[in-house]
Structure formats: C-alpha cells, structure tokens
C-alpha cells in the first residue's frame, strides 16, 4: 500500500483532496482558508503519482465542503478528486468539474476592467470546461486556466 493511501486511511472523519497539481497545493490552502482551521490538516506536496508524476494531497479532519466551496476549487484546480470519509470509510468520491459560472473567485486580468476599479463581484462565464477558459461577464476578456488569479 502506498504511503498516501495510508494517510487517507488514517482519517476517521473528514475530507481528502487528491490529485492536486503540485504548483496549486497552496492555492487550495488559501482558497479553503485551511490556515485558519483548528482541526488536524495534513498537507502533502510533491508526492509521487503514477498519473501526474508529482501531485499534492490535502487531508482535513472533521470538515466537509459545500457544493459552492467545491465549485470554487474546481476553478483553480480542475480535475481533482474529493473523497469524504466517515468512520474510516469512504462515503463519497467524486471528480470535480468546472461550473458554468464563476462568481467572486477569480480576478479579471484586464487592468481596464471595471471590476478592478469598483467594488464589483467578478463574474466569469466558463466558455470551455475542458480547457478551463473563462470570459469576464463585464469586459469580455478571456482568461485561460494557466493565467487564473484569485481575488
């Protein structure tokens, strides 16, 4: 059994976020505000992965995420796997996909966009879920997944 699976198996109750691209691990931490958590959080970076080469994994005890939080995550880390654990048993496991609309999560990269000058919640329409391409609802600027910056 691989070590990462051992770590998962050791969780009594909580959530495991797996298959995180290695450079996005701390974006996930920030987005979910894991630094403010008081329960046990295990962050694994640059772990060996057959599929990805290197990957990140985060294990959070006694915490479950809402659909909204998951859809936020999907914007910066599409294709992750979220597993929920109750009593050491995997109760749910799903591959995360991008929503149709991304509200208040991503910053528009157009310096002349109204959202960078007024207190406006950013809104992006997802134009390509596979590639992770977003289009600003206000200025129409397209943002590609590798450019995405959080608010």
């Amino acid at each position: 059994m691989k070590k990462s699976e051992l770590v998962v198996a050791a969780l009594e109750n909580g959530t495991v976020i797996d298959h995180i691209p290695p450079d996005k691990v701390f974006d996930v931490v920030n987005l979910l505000k894991l630094q403010e958590m008081t329960t046990q959080v295990t962050i694994g970076a640059n772990l060996f992965s057959h599929k990805m080469g290197r990957k990140g994994i985060i294990k959070i005890a006694d915490r479950y995420f809402t659909d909204e939080e998951v859809s936020k995550l999907s914007v910066i880390v599409p294709n992750i796997v979220i597993t929920t654990i109750h009593d050491y048993e995997v109760t749910e496991k799903h591959h995360v996909t991008m929503p149709d609309k991304v509200v208040g999560i991503v910053r528009c990269l157009n310096p002349k966009c109204i959202t960078n000058h007024e207190p406006v919640r950013t809104v992006f329409n997802v134009t390509d879920k596979e590639a992770g391409t977003l289009r600003c609802h206000y200025c129409n600027k397209e943002i590609y997944s590798y450019e995405i910056k959080l608010v």
Partner: protein, 306 residues
C-alpha cells in the same frame, strides 16, 4: 420592441429580429426626425471620457424627440474626480433621468451600471469593449445603401486588431449571410479569437495583407479604419505599411456601382480627400444615420415605439 425598456449594453444580447426592429424604427426617424414623443422626459448623457461626436449625436437625438438633456462631457468636472464611485453617480443621476446614455473609459462599466441602475443604460462606448450604437448605425448604413444585410461582400480594411467597431460588426453580422474580407498589415490583423468566432458562427471570411484593385472591384462595402502609429512597436514597420492602406479615388475606377465606403470617423489620412466627391463615399451620411439610430435606441429603451 427590441429592448422593451431595457438597457442596451452589447449587440451580443440582441436577436436578429431585435436588430432588424431597431433598424426599421431608425428608418421611420429618418423620414421624420422631429417627433416630440419624449416630451417631459429627461435623458442624461454621462461622458466619463470625452467623445464629442457620439455625445452630440445622442444629445441631438434626444432634443429632436423633445426630451430635456442633462449630463457632463468630461469626468474631470464631476464628483467622480473626487472619488465618487460609478455606482453612486448612477444612483444619483437615476433620481433625475428616465434613461442614461453613458460613455466610460473602463471596460464593462456599462454592464455594471445597468446592474445597479433603476433606469435603462445605453452604452455609448466602454473602453475598447463595446459601442453598440456605432455598430447599429453601420448596419443601418449598409442596409439602407444595399437594401439587404445578407449576401454582401464586405471588406474591412486597416486596424483589425484593436478596431472595436470591426469586432462589434462581426458580432452583429453573425445573423446574416454576408462574406467578409479582412485586409490589414500583419501587425494589425484580425485577432485569432474573432476568426474563431466567425468560424463558430458560420461567417465566411478570407484574409489578405494587400489592399488592391481586385479586392476593391469585388466589394459591396469597404469599411475603412485608421491605422494608428501608436499601435506599432516598430516605427519602421509603420512607415512601410502606412501608405498601403490608404484609399484613393483612382483606386475606385473598377468598383461596383453599388459600392459604398464606410468609416467610423474621425478620419486622418486613410481615405484621401479626393474620394469625398466620389458617389461611393458614404462616411459623412453614415455619421448622420447615427442620429436616426440613436433616436430609435433611446425610444426603444423607454419602451416607446413609433
């Protein structure tokens, strides 16, 4: 009604019927521009960046409809220079006006204003993003001179990279089956995303870096835009191409009889003055058409039909 008392922010939201309905309304205003149907209404023109041409056109439209006009022509003279938010300015003005015509240097400003405003917003240009009344007057000019918007050979010339008007035109023309030619220097060619847009929406187009007689003689519409020096990183390149995209009268000798030359104005030197007397020159009449189109837009945004 196309807008049904709603804002006009982008042509992307308008269906084919909406566009044709607005153009039909504009045609009625052309036959009778002075109609006091907005008596007692107040139209605000908020120009956060100066645009004399567009402002005068909208204000004339409002005046000819019998409305009163309030507003400003430069943000430097308003409280936004004191740091007031756009939202607060819009909320304040909407207490006084029935409709707000807004020009802003920030992209997406009109969309945002329409989301906070209790009265309709008409986008009179938001940065490099949208300028729907310009596009509608371009369409109106094509429809009026050619009798149709389908099956036309439309040649777009000049700065196709940054030219907001040519991008908006493609958005609006997705509903019609005309053919496009994109003629631009390599540095200013049509961006890939717009070419993809054309492909996705079945808009037929070809591209060339040469503006020659063959292209001119097979066009129904030539839409000229300005090749601006400041767009070039290498001024040597600018010097090389600047004369290749100038239209002169002698180039029009083999043109189709129905050819019309359009330009969003202001023109600098991309259309030689010797073209002005050619019957194909339409750019000044095109600007005049803006008045009728804007009368139609203002009325439609107030749910008033003629």
């Amino acid at each position: 009604m196309a807008l049904q008392g709603r804002s006009l922010i982008s042509l992307e939201e308008l269906a084919k019927e909406d566009i044709l309905d607005l153009l039909a309304q504009a045609s009625k205003f052309e036959s009778e521009p002075n109609r006091k149907i907005l008596d007692g209404k107040v139209v605000a023109t908020l120009f956060f960046e100066p645009s004399t041409r567009t402002r005068l056109s909208f204000e004339t439209a409002a005046n000819r409809l019998g409305a009163r006009v309030i507003g400003f022509s430069d943000a430097a003279t308003t409280s936004s220079s004191k740091g007031e938010s756009l939202k607060d300015t819009i909320m304040m003005v909407s207490n006084y006006a029935d409709v707000i015509v807004m020009r802003h240097y920030l992209e997406g400003a009109a969309r945002y204003a329409s989301e906070v405003s209790p009265v309709p917003i008409i986008n009179a240009g938001d940065g490099a993003n949208q300028h729907p009344s310009q596009t509608l007057l371009d369409l109106y000019s094509m429809l009026k001179t050619q009798g149709r918007l389908d099956d036309l050979d439309i040649t777009l010339v000049g700065d196709l990279k940054y030219g907001r008007t040519v991008h908006s035109m493609l958005t609006a023309m997705r509903h019609f089956s005309s053919r496009f030619r994109f003629i631009a220097p390599r540095e200013l060619e049509m961006p890939q995303e717009y070419k993809e847009y054309c492909t996705e929406h079945g808009i037929v187009f070809t591209e060339s870096h040469e503006f020659n007689d063959e292209i001119i003689s097979t066009s129904d519409i030539i839409y000229m835009t300005r090749v601006q020096k400041e767009r070039f990183t290498d001024l040597m390149v600018y010097e090389k191409v600047k004369n290749a995209f100038i239209l002169r009268n002698q180039m029009l000798s083999n043109a189709r009889e129905n050819l019309k030359i359009l330009h969003p104005l202001p023109r600098v030197n991309e259309i030689d003055q010797d073209v002005d007397s050619n019957p194909a020159a339409y750019y000044f009449k095109q600007a005049k058409n803006g008045l009728y189109v804007r009368e139609a837009i203002i009325c439609d945004s107030l749910n008033i039909k003629v």
